[in-house]
């Protein structure tokens, strides 16, 4: 695996029924490429939480996954409302979720902390009225 493998996906906001499809695709792709199962699980969990955030809050997002021999990098760039207070959003239990989101089993204020927990490198950049960009890296070795 000398050259990086890169794939981009579009995630649609507000489409609860489709939510998780992109993460599932990424999970099978990494499995097929022979990535270690524990690493695949961490990537899948981080990606799925990010995908749910897009579905719940944003209009749409581009998710790009890049695989090299050292690491898996996932960038999720959304067009959405942005997060006014990122520090608060990073706290476990803080949530602005609606009843509909909670009925799906999400919106408990664990999404961003869960993504960070599964990532080796994590950065978040959000602009109110524009959108949020997450950049996470999980090392393979």
């Amino acid at each position: 695996m000398d050259r990086p493998i890169s794939h981009s996906f579009l995630i649609q906001g507000k489409n609860f029924y489709e939510a998780g499809r992109v993460s599932t695709e990424i999970k099978s792709m990494l499995k097929d490429l022979g990535v270690d199962a524990a690493i695949v699980r961490r990537v899948a969990i981080a990606t799925y939480e990010a995908e749910m955030n897009v579905v719940m809050y944003a209009d749409e997002a581009t998710l790009t996954v890049e695989l090299t021999s050292q690491a898996i990098r996932v960038v999720i760039d959304d067009r959405g409302p942005g997060i006014p207070d990122v520090g608060l959003a990073m706290q476990e239990g803080y949530s602005t979720a609606t009843a509909e989101m909670r009925e799906m089993g999400f919106g408990a204020g664990m999404g961003l902390p869960n993504i960070k927990r599964n990532a080796d490198e994590f950065s978040i950049d959000s602009k109110v009225g524009k959108g949020t960009k997450l950049d996470i890296t999980i090392y393979i070795n």
């Binding site: 609860f16 029924y17 939510a19 998780g20 993460s23 599932t24 999970k27 199962a37 524990a38 699980r41 899948a44 969990i45 799925y48 939480e49 009925e103 799906m104 089993g105 999400f106 408990a108 664990m110 999404g111 902390p113 869960n114 927990r117």
Partner: protein, 126 residues
């Protein structure tokens, strides 16, 4: 313990995955919050939940949950059953409450996957 033994212990009906009841269950976890399942479960765990929708199955698939048991006699709709079949995740239902079902399985020796929060703080999540 294999799933068919758990089916007996909890008097489960089977909604999908009848052919997969020889699967081993290594741990148990119980939650209606899917983010908690993603944060605190382990590969090979059984999930007890009162949340019945397609995201329950999707979460189980992502977190590599071996089987889902719906508590308090809840019934899945066709979309949930279809999703579980497609993802090859056994979906069962028990008449017991979440508390009773957990108690029965814990007494039968199935360890918890969701560790105490203080263990997590100490960095023992793996």
């Amino acid at each position: 313990m294999v799933l068919s033994e758990i089916q007996g212990l909890l008097s489960c009906e089977i909604f999908s995955g009848e052919e997969l009841l020889d699967r081993a269950v290594l741990y148990g976890c119980a939650s209606d919050l899917m983010s908690d399942v993603l944060a605190f479960s382990r590969s090979g765990a059984l999930l007890l939940t009162g949340l019945v929708n397609v995201q329950t199955v999707q979460t189980a698939d992502i977190a590599e949950i071996n089987a889902i048991i719906l508590v308090r006699g809840k019934k899945p709709d066709d979309a949930v059953v279809e999703s579980a079949q497609k993802k090859k995740i056994p979906l069962l239902g028990t008449p017991y409450s979440m508390y009773e079902a957990c108690g029965i399985l814990y007494r039968a020796g199935i360890p918890s996957t969701m560790k105490c929060a203080t263990d997590f703080a100490a960095g023992e999540s793996e």
